[in-house]
Symmetry: C2
Subunit: 134 residues, 2 copies
DNA sequence: AGGCGGTTAACGAAAACTGTTTAAGTTATT
DNA sequence: AATAACTTAAACAGTTTTCGTTAACCGCCT
């Protein structure tokens, strides 16, 4: 039923969508509700997103540990720490402060509350200055 | 904890492995057994494989439905059917009989028993003669 | 033979995922 | 304004993953 991340249902829906069918038309064909088709389609795109992120991680696996942002840290201090540590390694970070904060928040939304870090965040950097968080 | 397909544990193990540590060394660091490190690493590679397959599917999403191999069909008849239908569409299949059978079996091992099909198999083809099965 | 690196199988518990339905909400088109 | 297309959220039951343990197994090396 499953190849890769996508269930049989999800592949089915994506194919019909590629053919230009509406969610209602697909629902009729596969004998379910249009709401369900919507859910399945959404789940499919979530899975595709996950697949991309996974391979993305592989490409940044050559990164080395830069520092740990401790719980309770202010985001602006975290940025300073990251720049400081990167400088020690003589690596130029690929992001300015603003983008760095955005990347931090996007990487793990649950770990941040306003300006503060709610859980330790590991920071990794590769020789190109690309960052990733774990 | 999860980004993409990989759990935090899995990313952790992959990073340490990239640094050249043995499973036993990693087990000591993360306080578990080497058997567990092995399992986690294997699961990580399974997930990476899944991610690749998922994106692979996306690239073949432009395929159109070619035919349905009905349950109980002999594999060799299935091959004939696929060639026949492809010819109707004036598309040259990218595989000879042998490779076609291999691709069929690999695509969904559970659906085949010896020379026979145990479950309906949908066959799709794109304009390059590339096949995929659902 | 014994140590080391790696793998596998079996099993339990907790967590996450899947397909559905129902119901309420957009947005776009006519 | 009305309809169609689409989105979202909550809740459910069933299934699958994940992490961990224990114990056994293989190949290689000195």
């Amino acid at each position: 039923m499953k190849q890769g991340l996508l269930t049989g249902r999800q592949r089915e829906v994506l194919r019909y969508r590629k053919q230009g069918l509406t969610q209602q038309q697909i629902a009729d064909i596969i004998h379910t509700s249009k709401a369900n088709v919507c859910t399945i389609e959404k789940a499919a795109y979530d899975n595709i997103e996950k697949a991309k992120e996974t391979l993305e991680f592989l490409y940044t696996l050559d990164a080395t540990h830069l520092c740990t942002i401790k719980i309770g840290t202010d985001l602006f201090d975290a940025v300073g720490e990251i720049y400081g540590e990167a400088e020690k390694l003589r690596i130029k970070v690929r992001y300015d402060s603003i983008n760095l904060i955005n990347r931090l928040k996007e990487a793990n939304p649950g770990k941040f509350k306003g300006r503060f870090v709610r859980e330790d965040v590991e920071v990794y950097i590769n020789e190109d200055g690309e960052l990733c968080f774990g």
